[in-house]
Symmetry: C2
Subunit: 428 residues, 2 copies
């Protein structure tokens, strides 16, 4: 309960500190998460099936009253999990008529071979039976330990009791049910004013290990009441993903189970391709996804700090991204961030090995607005002022490579001893 309140406070503080696009109306996260969270036409629920954890919910169902347009991005890890393969297939079959997502934590159903595929399908079938829909209208997602078979008796027993837990307004239970090493549930809802009225976007997500950018990363389920075609929805999702879930890293490891999905019920205003409304919708979706992505980094395994890594002035965006990712993933940079040590040499050394092209004499480095390194490798700064910034929970590191047009932004966290603790014996 204490952890939950701490988490809700983090969500509120981040919402207050966020510069939302002009057309976006962020909805205050309240203490019980019950104020009309889901857009019109959706409900969700969760139960404790006892898959791995005792005395907590670990199985959830998100359901739509009517067939939805849907889109999703999946991990590009070659060892992708059974639910990823199944959901990809169901989405191909039913992109205009997805009705539900069933998801469990505690077991990833990854690297489980043919039995794993059977189990994922059984989950979809069981959920479909409860909702009186077709199995191919159900997406399945699992998260947790890799390489163990799902305890299907518990899973199927849990699915039977899911419908009675469904609520239109509550999300905390649902968001908690997909947590693994996350310390708090991650969700947010916002509205965006369009020409024909407001559209709502609500999403939940989970972290917090095997988090790496570079592809569709993480479990995140987003819903909207907008009326959109599956292909337009896919385009919007892909676009927003680039600067949100694909721009974060906790530990550089891309999971076998990553999936970001969006369901659109169509009960709200219609959004056409190339319209001003579409642009606003994309901005709102990006803002929501960046918000959820930041929550994942804040709650990264053992993390105590959220640091924005900006690289500007690169020859092109590709170089900027190379440098930003390498800095964001450097263990030496992350431990220095943890130790609040302004060891700027590690930052430029990471850029130097990243493959980005630059001349080290042109480098310029800022912590927030404070200049640490001037061109000519002149680092004549006050350690006290740098330490003051590094003591914050959240700040930006900006490295200018030169005078080119390329820029990139990645969010990362620090590397702490707790990370080692959490991951030394994760399976037990």
């Amino acid at each position: 309960m204490e952890k939950l309140n701490k988490g809700l406070k983090i969500i509120q503080e981040l919402a207050a500190a966020t510069s939302w696009p002009a057309a976006v109306i962020p909805m205050e996260a309240d203490s019980d998460g019950t104020h009309g969270f889901w857009p019109e036409g959706f409900s969700s629920g969760a139960v404790a099936a006892g898959i791995k954890y005792s005395s907590r919910k670990d199985l959830m169902l998100l359901s739509a009253d009517a067939p939805c347009s849907a889109a999703a991005l999946f991990t590009t890890n070659l060892c992708c999990a059974a639910p990823v393969m199944l959901s990809r297939k169901h989405l191909e079959q039913s992109a205009s008529s997805i009705r539900a997502i069933v998801s469990n934590s505690g077991n990833a159903n990854a690297a489980t071979g043919a039995q794993g595929m059977d189990d994922a399908l059984a989950m979809a079938e069981a959920a479909a039976r409860e909702l009186a829909i077709k199995p191919e209208e159900v997406l399945v997602a699992s998260t947790g330990v890799i390489g163990q078979l799902l305890p299907m008796e518990k899973v199927l027993g849990g699915i039977v009791s899911l419908p009675s837990s469904m609520q239109r307004n509550s999300v905390i239970d649902t968001a908690q049910a997909i947590m693994t090493t996350d310390t708090f549930p991650k969700f947010f809802t916002l509205e965006v004013s369009l020409s024909k009225g407001n559209v709502r976007l609500s999403g939940l997500a989970k972290g917090s290990g095997m988090i790496c950018p570079n592809m569709a990363t993480m479990l995140a389920f987003i819903t909207t009441d907008a009326a959109m075609t599956p292909s337009l929805l896919h385009e919007a999702l892909q676009r927003a993903n680039r600067s949100s879930f694909n721009a974060i890293t906790v530990d550089g490891d891309t999971s076998t189970n990553d999936m970001v999905s969006i369901l659109a019920s169509g009960t709200g205003p219609e959004i056409a391709s190339d319209s001003p409304d579409y642009t606003l919708f994309c901005e709102a979706l990006e803002a929501l996804m960046i918000f959820l992505a930041k929550l994942i980094v804040i709650d990264g395994e053992g993390a105590t700090k959220l640091v924005e890594i900006n690289v500007v002035g690169a020859s092109d965006h590709k170089d900027a991204e190379l440098a930003a990712r390498t800095i964001a993933q450097s263990s030496l940079v992350k431990t220095a961030i943890h130790g609040e040590d302004a060891n700027w040499g590690r930052i430029i050394a990471a850029a130097g090995r990243s493959g980005a092209r630059f001349n080290q004499d042109e480098l310029e480095l800022h912590f927030n607005d404070f200049i640490v390194l001037k061109p000519g490798l002149i680092a004549d700064f006050s350690e006290e002022s740098a330490a003051e910034i590094m003591a914050k929970n959240s700040y930006a590191i900006t490295l200018r490579l030169g005078s080119g047009p390329g820029c990139a932004r990645i969010w990362t966290c620090d590397l702490s001893k707790e990370y080692v603790d959490i991951n030394g014996s994760y399976r037990s």
Copy 2:
């Protein structure tokens, strides 16, 4: 003293456990390292100049009686340090007549701009003055904190007192003088039987942070009495480097100061290109460099285990290397190794995101000779047997991707809480 004895024991144990090539005669490392360490024609010494550390030696000189053939590999980090730039230049000018290497710890003289270049040159000039040779016959290497100017008064004062410390037979002081976060000095000497007599190869190296493969990595100074042209020496060094220093990782960070050099005095047998002797020499050089590289991983920051990552059966060597490096650098794999948890899912997940091509149903995973995962993703193994292997200080993880000819081998260590401790406040 206790640490030193522990280090010497590690060197002896690793030497005993190594399968040396047939023509190689490893020389036992003795407790004071004084039994004729250097090949004919070399001597070395060290002093405490007080550059960063108090009460320990931090400045060393390796000197050759006569001009040597020389070759070196340098970091490819764009932010390379001043001594790297200077040594590269001196090697271009004097590849047939290098006479000395002067090196300090405690300060990398990296990211120090024009003043850093002047300081590196002043080190070469001071050493040349003491040895009555030309500055361009001196290589310079520095290691330690990035971005701080060298305390030149201390450095130059130290160089003046170096000649009186020179010994032909002792190496421990010299190897200690280049240590940063290393816990023990790293050195080894061996001989190889060639057609015209034995050739000796002696080397010293230092770790133990910013250690990443992918290019010429680390400080290592190797000497030999073989008579070889600089270009043949360069070819041999490059070849051996691929499977030794370029095949290790501690933290994935490639340093700004990496340098591996070899000096050949020519007082021993001549080695011609394309001769059987050259093949034997290359084998011996590779064995020495792998030995020193392993010592660096064993002494990696916070490391408690040396793990050999083998990837076999890949479509080609490039794929095998991609997979092996990604596994070796995965924080999740490294923490599981630390926690002695047979979390094999993390290993195949790392391979899956590496970019290597394979079908997950063909994967096969071994810990030493013990099979953990069979094709079809069948992981029906005894946790006790796996735990027994993972409790060892050193073992091999072998992942078969399929039935292709590609293979690669990388050495890595575990990720411990001590790593975070060491790197949270390295500059202070």
